[in-house]
Symmetry: C2
Subunit: 416 residues, 2 copies
């Protein structure tokens, strides 16, 4: 008899939000198992559980110890793990829950943001040999000293992908409350359509831009190990969106999606003396405080002075402003300007690698609509602009129309 | 510098019922730690948590798989463990939570009722070397295949005692919501007084009789390894009751306590043919169904037939009656009598070993009060009687008065 194909499915907290949903997930896992596949399921904590536990810890301690927080939070996945195994058995499917220390998902010791170093698959393979479904706790691992670690928010995606790689699974389904990756957010633009497939690189750019269906680290891991990912609904049977290695023909689609992040703030440090080490003295303190800086733009220096603008999330705005104020005085800058009413809009697509017209067309579309561009940043397959928050809906609709719904005019001008 | 003395403290679910109580427990642990002792704390799940988890499992499955149930229930202790460690650190006490698989509390594989086989103390000793408080999850262990096991209800007491033995601790405090072991239940008899100390054997008899301050297995374990146990309040600073090896002078106290169990039922199988194997054919099926039989009384056979009476808990009454009905027919018994309105009252004390007068005096006290004795059972240090439930309060008050408050008359008649 041939060895059965292996697959990994990951279910998020919303999909496991109550006992009825857990039963529904069990039924869904059962269908794959009945098809003859060996299935490893990776689970998150039940919806709301991680926040409940976090609130307990924060009531006891302003800055909860990272090691103990991991011990606490990891119980969330342990509970879902056991409950899903019970639900599977109740439906006649042999199943076994496995925690980080049982599988031996080895990580470094960076509590709260640990990185997976290796996964032993022998225990899961033993379960497979008995035709059991292996129900693996996501988000958690164990360091070399047997301390429990967690991978950070959304870490279960990473667990699933790493496990799929270690098991040589033919696919890894990320089952969630949306049914795939869309060309843009359907709530903002009703012309949004689901993508059948998308490349790892495009998904990485989208994930980094607030299209929060997949963790960046999980996509990076999938890319590194060539794991074929599928984002699909936990409840329906639609095919969803495949996130796959770049294939021939993918570049023919100029722009795969229009992404945006409404919650941005920008800070400009004016007339900074343009000396070596300036950026370090500015961004070092921000990094120390855990402020994530997104876009950074610095103009060419004039008269030994320059303006430097960067964006942070709205949440970090006031902390960042205070820190930058201090630094600005120390380095003798001319002052700072700031705004927390901005947003970022981006177009992403492999096709733009070989096509110079995308940026120009994007600026033209926005300009025609009277939308002012405050910052621009580009990568090989992405162009992002910062605009006023009030303009986001209009910008997304127009860019989606120009690039996704009717990309004709640009395709015609594609170089031979 | 001398190696600090080691002590173990165990806190139950009520003592850890909310965050304020967890803070209070941390403050109490801190006082011991500040005295220079190395402290290992064993914790139960927060009050109500185990039942909440059990209800989730039972909603999914009528008979939840024992292995998965252990994975689920053990999260309760894991949560308290992490929270108490956080509370200790917040109060400036270095602390480290340790779970069953981290300490390596090795058990057999009997899920839900596992027995501890060994405890490695190296990880706890490492914590002690750093002057950390080790906060150990009670109730849970790990089998030889790294499966999580639990020790059964109240198992945290056993964890604490076994840990105290393994660590060579000078004492093991069982901190709970009562402040010690009483001569009888103060709610029933307001003359009840707290015992300063009691022997393991007396405590074993009391624990088995519904005085539920300590698990029998924990007392057995303490006796085997000579661990000095103390039952005390989690909230006050009273000395509580010491449970210790038998000491000189202990026998001078005739009766240490009057225990009772209101929730009993008795079943009599009448005119059974008195043949070998009869008891086995009767009690085998009961054991198979998990019915715990307490007292068994069989009269001397007359004409090859005998009556056999036994007691079970009220909870098991109807199941036991049904089973016994079947067996009675098979063995050709004359029928069965049963009652679920009975109760058991016992007097316990090392002193009665050398004193024949206790039983007689007990029967006299009950008889004078018009209380009918339905069954009698004795051990070396205990006399139990079954009476009507309605008579319990009166019986307990009278026996307490006769043996504990005013034992003079009997002591006088003690043989030289």
């Amino acid at each position: 008899m041939a060895t059965p194909e292996r697959t990994v499915q990951k279910y998020g907290g919303t999909s496991l939000g109550d006992l009825d949903r857990i039963r529904a997930v069990a039924a869904r896992v059962k269908r794959r198992w009945e098809q003859g596949l060996n299935v490893a399921v990776v689970v998150s904590a039940m919806g709301g559980e991680t926040n409940r536990l976090l609130a307990l810890a924060r009531s006891l301690s302003g800055e909860p110890d990272a090691r103990e927080l991991d011990v606490l939070l990891s119980t969330g996945e342990q509970v879902s793990c056991a409950l899903l195994s019970l639900a599977l058995k109740e439906q006649g499917v042999p199943a076994e829950s496995l925690l980080g220390h049982q599988v031996r998902i080895s990580t470094d010791s960076a509590h709260g943001k640990a990185r997976i170093q290796s996964i032993k698959v022998s225990r899961i393979e033993r379960a497979f040999e008995e035709r059991k479904v292996a129900v693996v706790a996501g988000f958690q691992g164990i360091d070399s000293d047997d301390n429990i670690t967690t991978l950070g928010r959304g870490g279960s995606d990473t667990t699933a992908v790493a496990l799929a790689a270690a098991l040589g699974a033919t696919s890894c389904d990320i089952c969630t409350d949306v049914d795939g990756v869309y060309t843009t957010d359907p709530r903002t633009c009703d012309q949004a359509v689901r993508l059948e497939k998308i490349s790892y690189d495009e998904m990485l750019e989208l994930a980094g831009l607030g299209a929060k269906v997949l963790q960046i680290r999980a996509v990076e891991c999938a890319k590194r190990y060539g794991v074929k990912l599928r984002v699909c609904s936990s409840f329906g049977d639609d095919e969803g969106t495949w996130v796959v290695p770049e294939e021939e023909g993918m570049e023919e689609v100029l722009v795969s999606g229009v992404a945006f992040d409404r919650d941005q703030a920008k800070i400009t440090v004016k007339l900074v003396p343009d000396t070596p080490g300036l950026a370090a003295s500015l961004f070092g303190p921000l990094a120390d405080k855990g402020v994530v800086v997104d876009m950074i733009v610095q103009n060419v220096s004039a008269d030994g002075h320059t303006d430097l603008t960067f964006t942070v999330s709205g949440e970090d705005f006031s902390a960042a402003t205070n820190l930058v104020q201090d630094v600005a005085e120390k380095v003798g800058a001319g002052g700072i300007d700031s705004s927390d009413t901005v947003a970022k809009v981006s177009v992403v697509g492999l096709g733009m690698r070989n096509h110079a017209g995308v940026a120009a067309r994007m600026f033209e579309v926005l300009s025609d609509a009277g939308i002012n561009i405050q910052m621009i940043s580009t990568s090989e397959i992405k162009i992002s602009v910062v605009i006023e928050r009030d303009d986001v809906d209009k910008a997304v609709k127009l860019l989606h129309e120009a690039f996704v719904e009717d990309p004709g005019s640009l395709a015609e001008s594609k170089p031979a």
